[in-house]
Symmetry: C2
Subunit: 336 residues, 2 copies
């Protein structure tokens, strides 16, 4: 077994031309089955490994799809990527993953780096980017899909939902449960643009109900952890002891808030109702179960991947696919 066999070596050993080897490897129907079998056998013996870097250059196709998410360590985004993978893989496409740490400048850097790899398409999380990012994306001339948002002026295509509007559903639910003095626990900065949109949506919905919007607790720099959620809950209970419900920017911070209540001997929802966002697994198993909003992360991924496959096949695709989030009311806000 010789090191670093090339297609040429396989061709020589099999007594055919390089082109025939190339065809045999891409399952071109025009290669005689016996010839292909012989080639595959020889290639195996030589330990030949196909070199896609050469194919990429010659055919001007990399079969890469660049995907940018805010964080690797987030079940929601993992679900979106997880749902994209089989759809893309089925069409020979491979994901080139990057994570931005919730920073649009980091995103700009990554977009620049990834475009050099000549992906066939690019998927972003969120609808807010630097001007330069937008320029780079537009100039790249490939399908661009923004997800987890539904911006007014998408770069190209969008699959997602309005984080702001969705909060209206949550506030409506809490108000219907009889809550009025409702607080919001979220990030201090707009680094997590989706989190910031949720805060804005919360304020708008409260105002629409004619409710006071002073109970805004900053829990730290996004993403907000369980611990930060717990700390914020502590501050909320001290600064606004008469609060009767709290909406958290995610289920993780909401769970942290729950634990703080447990440690203080407060009953949820008896003393205070707690709601989250994201439909993480924890929401459905913690005690009490968390009222949350399911943004259907896997559906977003699937739709985005389908869109890309269609566009790369030269077929059309909608510019805007709305994936409607669903509120799941559970024990943490519903008094029995």
């Amino acid at each position: 077994m010789q090191r670093n066999a090339r297609m040429k070596d396989v061709a020589q050993a099999a007594g055919v031309s390089v082109m025939t080897v190339s065809r045999a490897f891409k399952k071109d129907a025009s290669v005689k089955p016996a010839t292909r079998a012989a080639i595959i056998k020889v290639a195996d013996e030589l330990g030949y490994v196909y070199d896609s870097t050469a194919a990429n250059l010659r055919s001007q196709k990399t079969d890469f799809v660049a995907v940018l998410i805010p964080s690797l360590n987030n079940a929601n985004f993992a679900d979106t990527v997880g749902a994209m993978t089989p759809v893309l893989s089925e069409h020979g496409l491979q994901i080139l993953l990057g994570y931005t740490n919730y920073d649009i400048h980091e995103e700009e850097y990554l977009v620049e780096q990834l475009l050099k790899r000549r992906p066939e398409a690019i998927v972003l999380t969120g609808g807010r980017h630097t001007d330069r990012t937008r320029r780079l994306l537009t100039a790249a001339g490939i399908p661009v899909v923004e997800t987890w948002d539904l911006p007014e002026d998408p770069v190209d295509r969008v699959v997602g939902f309005s984080n702001a509007e969705t909060m209206g559903t949550m506030v409506d639910h809490l108000v219907a449960q009889g809550h009025q003095r409702i607080a919001f626990i979220g990030g201090d900065t707009d680094g997590d643009t989706r989190g910031a949109d949720r805060r804005r949506g919360f304020l708008a919905a409260m105002a629409a109900h004619g409710l006071e919007t002073s109970r805004l607790i900053g829990a730290g720099t996004p993403p907000i952890s369980m611990r930060e959620g717990a700390e914020a809950m502590g501050r909320l209970l001290e600064e606004h002891p008469d609060t009767d419900a709290v909406v958290c920017v995610s289920d993780l911070s909401a769970f942290g808030a729950l634990t703080e209540c447990a440690r203080r001997g407060l009953s949820v929802p008896g003393d205070i109702a707690v709601a989250g966002f994201g439909a993480y697994e924890i929401a459905d198993i913690c005690v009490p179960r968390l009222t949350t909003i399911d943004p259907h992360p896997a559906r977003i991924g699937q739709e985005a991947a389908r869109m890309i496959v269609a566009l790369l096949a030269g077929a059309g695709a909608e510019r805007r696919v709305a994936v409607e989030p669903a509120l799941t009311a559970a024990e943490s806000t519903v008094r029995v």
Copy 2:
């Protein structure tokens, strides 16, 4: 701004040769600053984007490091990858990530696919692979780093710890707390080889203490979710009501077990002690806090990345780096 400018176009527009443009882009000191500035300016105006696919082929370097993890949706592995990223990125290396769904055959497929992309090195999770995977890896002639395990016969290099031996620490701790009738909740299959190693380690440690090893609860196909942990806890309490402690294969299943106790009105650790594995954030915030083992996922990633950087620089590196896990005793197993 013209579409698809090449280096040649930039060279023409700047009135220099392609080679000078190439040098200007890689910050070759031999290019006169003024020349470089002019080239960068022209490139910008043309909307030129460097094409690494061509460079990859010619220089036989992709600057890719392939990294395989069992699942995207796991904070432990995300931490490992997250710690590798900055170290590699600093040296111009980019991660090409794949996930195996805890399946060594899926791993084999991915290794085969990824090697075609000609990565400079490859990082795997775990020390158990198919024979073909091992052959492919060996033949690739690049640094191979196995992580999250400490196999006897590594393919090349290892950074990790013994999942089996680490369980000894946990059993010792529980025994020291006065527990004897200790159960284990883990996967039904060996798909998660690390989980299976933990189960084996648990059995060995129990035997070493002369304790009964019949309380093995299968919680489903790995990875074991919170929900499966809760269900398994339910079965454990029914089948072996006199159990006084339970070790779970991960903090996630352990948390599920905790919630089941809470729903049944059982006190932890008063009625039964519960321990996990992984030092996930939840272990340190749930009520009661979980006794767990911190395998230092970030340290594993950092060491693996450093090893790769060293090897690619032609420097030496240890074949075997042990990262010692640490037990954190907390409320869930310690009676006050």
